[in-house]
């Protein structure tokens, strides 16, 4: 595997380099071939890696005792090997391809490839075609680096690079002020998370002198549950995950990130980058299993974000914003899953979510494309007739995310809720939040569907004239995702727990060590709760009916079933943006204005200017010496004489 795994990084990087350097001189065709081809080939390599993994036995894949995590863990280059004082520091560049990585790789390259193909059609009329594909390839490279790294340092490299790619892509249309501001906001919040991960790495180095997964997890496993060092590392990593995955309290950048082109929203802010946080926690399950406090916080953050985002999504009028909040909400579910120890369930939801969310974003993109750039759903309506393919596929996505069986969303969501319930005690509250969120999800998604595709048309006349269905390059990937969204759930259903078994070598090792930190059965052991199922079904029906009743005819002026203050609260996104503006933006602006006006202009410039002025004044005062003015010379003479006299007499 070592022979070809490096291609996973090299191919997208080459695509980025080619399209970035000479893309401007290439034809659109060539750019598309390079851009999509690199990701397509990476997909092929991912599949090959997956097939090779299939041929290995589980015990070959993970081996906590030694210094590697099995056959999939290999080093390409020994970088830092130093003996500093009493400790050592060893950092190598290597990769880890295990079942978890394989899942992520298939999602990244698979869904990534489909989105790249979609972009061929979507971005066709954009003058910066090559720059777009270059950045997209850069993103794929970064994300792959993130998931294949076998140590925390290169994880951090990938982590930072995806943040950069996100910044570049959100601000792709850099002439738009709103886009630039959104990109900046996203980057700043991501960097806060990066600091968290850096601090975690510092702790690891200080404690153990190693940053690679094998050693860190091996050493950590010897600690007792609830150890403060482990908890500190977990919380710091959580800071990173929260920032990257747009969870409370670092979530405010995601809705603004919709300023980027729709394929960007689909790829980065739905399927991959925002799921990096979930991957991180899943990868570090050894650490989180040892720190119930951290795991509890993860679950709490997940459930809260899920509910909060769902409430805000209900009052949004921009297609992409509804989907953005929906993404935030679903990732909350994933966090809830990994927080209660159901790592495989979290990954399962990650996969199904990638399918239907990318599909939904592509559908939204198709609508926006048809509407010539309009994104406000109050100006849409009855598009189902004009955009039949998009309508059908979008509806499949809506059904999937709503959790309607037997589509994929149902299986993954149900499993997460079952785990939250199975735990008992205070986790029931999380379960309740999850259920509430599910109801709201159904409601706002169907609201979106109704207002966009059904009802009567509120489209402006000149826009309505050129509404056309999307080209094949856009509908083909959507159809593929549609199939996956419908059938993808069957990789993990009670009885056919394929995904769970696949991931057991990664997550199941803990029981091998004889310890059971989280007294929570794993996916395979949770019985199918018919009661919970019934609750969910009733919820779906109720929410659907509510949405249909309220929105079939068209948008309501304000959510009239809800009192005005509540509505304002939701539209203001629970006042988080205002809060951050008060807490952070104002003081920083004050400080920078002070530094600029008083310190830089006032003091430093004053110093420099003062020197110049002093010199000018002095030279002015010395001028009379050369004025040719006789009386001045005479005066100088007399003054000199007087001075000498004074001195001479003074000596006495």
């Amino acid at each position: 595997m070592q022979n070809y795994a490096w291609l996973l990084l090299a191919l997208p990087l080459a695509g980025f380099a080619l399209n970035g350097a000479i893309g401007r001189r290439l034809s659109k065709n060539a750019i598309a071939w390079i851009g999509c081809g690199s990701v397509g080939l990476s997909l092929v390599v991912s599949v090959i890696a997956y097939l090779q993994l299939l041929s290995w036995r589980p015990e070959q894949m993970v081996d906590l005792g030694s210094s590697t995590l099995g056959k999939g863990d290999f080093t390409y280059y020994n970088w830092v090997t130093s003996l500093v004082g009493a400790g050592t520091l060893k950092i190598d560049f290597g990769m880890l391809i295990d079942p978890l990585t394989a899942v992520m790789l298939l999602v990244i390259t698979g869904v990534g490839f489909l989105i790249h193909v979609y972009s061929i059609g979507y971005m066709r009329d954009d003058p910066d075609y090559s720059r777009f594909f270059a950045y997209m390839n850069l993103f794929i490279f970064s994300m792959v680096m993130l998931v294949v790294a076998n140590n925390f340092l290169f994880l951090l490299v990938g982590w930072g690079l995806v943040g950069l790619s996100s910044y570049l892509l959100i601000g792709f249309w850099y002439m738009r002020k709103t886009a630039v501001l959104a990109a900046r906001k996203a980057l700043i919040m991501n960097i806060i998370g990066d600091v968290g991960i850096m601090l975690a790495i510092f702790l690891m180095v200080r404690q153990w002198g190693f940053v690679d997964y094998a050693h860190v997890f091996a050493k950590a496993a010897t600690y007792k549950s609830g150890d403060p060092i482990i908890t500190a590392i977990c919380l710091l990593l959580l800071l990173g995950a929260v920032a990257k995955s747009a969870q409370l309290p670092l979530h405010t950048w995601l809705p603004d990130a919709m300023e980027g082109p729709t394929p960007v929203s689909a790829l980065i802010h739905a399927a991959t980058m925002v799921t990096a946080g979930v991957y991180l926690i899943a990868r570090c399950h050894v650490l989180y299993d040892l720190s119930p406090v951290s795991a509890g916080i993860v679950a709490g953050i997940g459930a809260s974000t899920a509910l909060l985002a769902a409430t805000i999504a209900v009052v949004q009028n921009d297609i992409k914003r509804v989907l953005a909040y929906s993404t935030m909400s679903q990732i909350g579910y994933m966090f809830l899953a990994v927080g209660v120890g159901a790592y495989a369930s979290g990954m399962f939801h990650l996969v199904t979510h990638a399918f239907f969310k990318a599909l939904l974003f592509m559908g939204a993109g198709s609508v926006i494309h048809a509407m010539g750039g309009e994104q406000d759903i109050r100006k849409m309506g009855a598009l189902g007739k004009r955009l039949p393919q998009t309508y059908v596929l979008f509806t499949l996505g809506v059904l999937a995310i709503a959790g309607v069986p037997p589509l994929s969303g149902f299986w993954s969501k149900d499993e997460i809720l079952a785990h939250a319930w199975a735990w008992g005690d205070w986790h029931i509250a999380l379960w309740a939040m999850g259920v509430g969120t599910a109801g709201l999800t159904v409601f706002y998604m169907f609201r979106l569907g109704y207002l966009t595709f059904l009802g009567s048309s509120r489209v402006e006349r000149d826009v309505a004239a050129h509404i056309h269905e999307a080209p094949l390059s856009m509908t083909a990937p959507m159809s593929v995702l549609g199939i996956l969204a419908v059938l993808g759930g069957f990789i993990q259903v009670p009885g056919f727990t394929q995904l769970n078994d696949w991931l057991t070598p990664v997550f199941g090792t803990f029981s091998n060590a004889g310890r059971n930190f989280i007294a929570n059965p794993r996916s395979a052991d949770v019985p199918f709760e018919w009661g919970a199922f019934a609750i969910l079904m009733v919820l779906i029906v109720v929410a659907f009916s509510a949405a249909r009743t309220l929105y079939q005819a068209g948008p309501r002026p304000k959510l009239s079933v809800v009192p005005a203050p509540v509505y304002t609260f939701l539209v203001e996104k629970w006042y988080f943006d205002r809060l951050y503006e008060l807490l952070f933006e104002r003081p920083v602006y004050w400080l920078s204005r002070f530094t600029w006006a008083r310190l830089d202009r006032g003091f430093i410039d004053g110093l420099v200017n003062g020197v110049a002025r002093g010199i000018a004044t002095t030279s002015n005062d010395l001028r009379p010496a050369e004025s040719g003015f006789v009386r001045t010379y005479a005066m100088a003479l007399v003054a000199g004489v007087v001075l000498i006299l004074v001195l001479a007499i003074g000596q006495r």
Partner: protein
Amino acid sequence: MVSTSAYLVVGAILFSLGALGVLIRRNPIVIFMSIEMMLNAANLTFVALSRQLHSMDGQIFVFFVMTVAAAEVVIGLAIIVSIFRTRNEVDVDTVNSMKG
């Protein structure tokens, strides 16, 4: 008898007045007159002190000073006349071509 200090004080006053005149007046002839005043003040001081110290040196020196003053005035007035011939005015302030 008048004390020597009285003569010295008068000498000082004359000298200061002369110096003031040199600095303030613009007409070169008046400046010369002031210079003469200064020289004469010096003469007075010499004579007074010669009397006090009972030595003839001071009085002899006065002759030297007078000679020098005369010679200086001759040359000075010659210069002033030639300046007047060129410019048709005598104002010390305007003679500043040595400026810079």
